[in-house]
Symmetry: C2
Subunit: 354 residues, 2 copies
């Protein structure tokens, strides 16, 4: 199963809205005869690839797979049927598929066809691997990551607004790799106006993440690197109050627009889930970060901390008003990782609320 | 020499204005026959203690000492004379004494008396051990440490000013131990008014560090834990502009006052050096911290970082305006240590300027 989990991880950043899945087939004597992983939505499922490699050697053998084989017709036919057709005798599964269209029916079909099914091997690891997919199915929203780079005194810019670069080159590279694991990267209008960011993974992801700007006023620059659709797709989200004139101006620039019911992080997350995003990255300023946090749209934090002092009285900080009035309202987040990146530290935390 | 350095460290926090010194004596056949360390100003020097233990067995033997034996009459007679009188044949010394009253003359006296002198064994370690003492002799100011506790989003208080407690109990204990290594702890009037702090090492230091308040206006509360001289000594420093009425009021409370030439961190540091402080801790608010940093009064930072989000638009941050206008003016500080304390991280950095 460890090998199957490693295989599954090879699809990282390319399978959304689908989960990461890895599979392998052992013949009747226990020899490895096939391997596969889900490489991208619309491409064959992991089991199908592994069974194809194994061919007739799968007969009477064992399928090891990180997620319950599907039982429904999606873009590909149901895997449980393929498993049964291959004559596999035993199926070892890490976790049940949380997709309500599957949710145990794949395992049931296998059992009914006479296969021996063993569920729950390395379940925790499999759930962690697909945390984003599971979160979306459970909540109807993508898993939200929030990232910022700050000085050791908690500033994300100098008093004059300069912010390039607080962090080490190694940390900027780390951010590109972080983006490669996300389906969308979100900023607000303020960040777009101030930084004119590119927001790509610099080619580390075959299909660059969707770049999203959420803006109430649509007061966005005429020239911006985000408008260059050759680098990556861009979506501008706004609410019903957005001025008609600005909408038309953006349409004229060829920028894709999305009108949300309300111009709020929560509404944006629901829209992105419907577009198949499992995991998104907030790379925004303090006001939008605070709104996203207040609305439960952030499950993970990555604070890149540089050993520099920027100081300031009103210089930019990572997070705006969270409306907390007592320390008891600020529980400790849970450490996921602490790593070094050049001279910087990267502290990754997950929400105490899960 | 490693043993002598360990012995020296036993005096930590108690020898100011003197350095930390450890010594041991080996007899003519190389057996350990005496050990000593400087335990407090006015108490015997390390060499004298070690030689007293060794007695006649020191004759023809070796003295190992972390700092050049002194050659001047201070509160105790010169150690170089005692070494010569004991008939020691060989003296191994880690570093020369930077005190201009010694500065090589102790070693010269030993050589003239016929002893073999070896200088520079474990010199770097010895210099690090006495970094504060060396800094004071070189600059005329104590070594300055700045400490703060903040959330991962760089806040030292909630928007409503509440700050107890951001950090874990283990970190507050760590601060008490940090204070025990310092000769004085400095706050501004704002911190005194807001927090009514105790600022002691909670008994971890035989003589509690001097508690210092620096205040331009002397607008300080009538009741404060700092005014209780039973817990620890307190000094209020101010400039020539401080109102007469407030001075008299503090005198009436029995609080010690010190008028500085200017009410500035630099002037305070010079005054504290003259009072024998080798190392002091700034535990102040952002404006005073920024002034201390700008005036070169901080050589070490300790940032206690809690995995909490406090948020805020104008909530308190660690450091006020440093008057930086470009990233090039904010060099990376040098990491001295990174440690865990409960759920918190403690990042200790030293100034790139030394």
């Amino acid at each position: 199963m460890d090998r199957a989990l490693d295989l599954a991880a090879l699809g990282m950043g390319r399978t959304s809205p689908n989960p990461l899945v890895g599979a392998l087939v052992l013949d009747v004597s226990g020899r490895l005869v096939g391997e596969g992983f889900h490489a991208a939505a619309g491409r064959p499922h992991a089991e199908v690839g592994a069974l194809a490699q194994a061919g007739v050697r799968a007969r009477g053998g064992t399928l090891v797979v990180t997620l319950e084989p599907c039982s429904h017709h999606g873009r590909t036919p149901p895997c449980s049927e393929a498993v049964i057709a291959a004559g596999v005798h035993r199926v070892i599964v890490a976790m049940q598929d949380p997709d309500p269209r599957v949710a145990g029916s794949g395992l049931k079909a296998l059992r009914q066809a006479g296969a021996e099914v063993l569920l729950g091997v390395r379940q925790r690891q499999a759930e962690r691997l697909n945390a984003a997919f599971c979160h979306r199915l459970r909540t109807g929203r993508p898993l939200g990551l929030l990232k910022w780079a700050m000085s050791v005194d908690g500033r994300t810019a100098l008093p004059n607004g300069a912010s390039q670069w607080i962090s080490a080159p190694e940390s900027r590279d780390w951010v590109h790799r972080l983006r490669a694991r996300c389906d969308a990267v979100i900023v607000g209008g303020g960040t777009l106006r101030a930084d004119d960011p590119l927001l790509t993974s610099r080619g580390r992801r075959a299909i660059e993440p969707l770049r999203v700007v959420i803006s109430r006023t649509l007061d966005l620059p005429q020239q911006a690197r985000l408008w260059d659709r050759a680098a990556a797709p861009t979506l501008v989200a706004h609410g019903p109050e957005a001025p008609q004139r600005e909408r038309q101006r953006l349409d004229g620039l060829g920028v894709e627009r999305l009108e949300l019911k309300r111009c709020e992080p929560l509404d944006l997350m629901e829209a992105l889930a419907l577009r198949g995003c499992n995991q998104v990255l907030w790379e925004c300023g303090p006001a939008l970060a605070a709104a996203a946090l207040r609305q439960g749209c952030v499950q993970h934090l990555s604070a890149v901390m540089a050993p520099k002092l920027l100081g300031g009285v009103a210089a930019r900080t990572p997070v705006g008003d969270l409306q907390l009035s007592s320390m008891a309202m600020a529980p400790a987040w849970l450490e996921q990782a602490l790593s070094r990146s050049g001279d910087d530290l990267i502290w990754e935390l997950s929400s105490p609320g899960g």
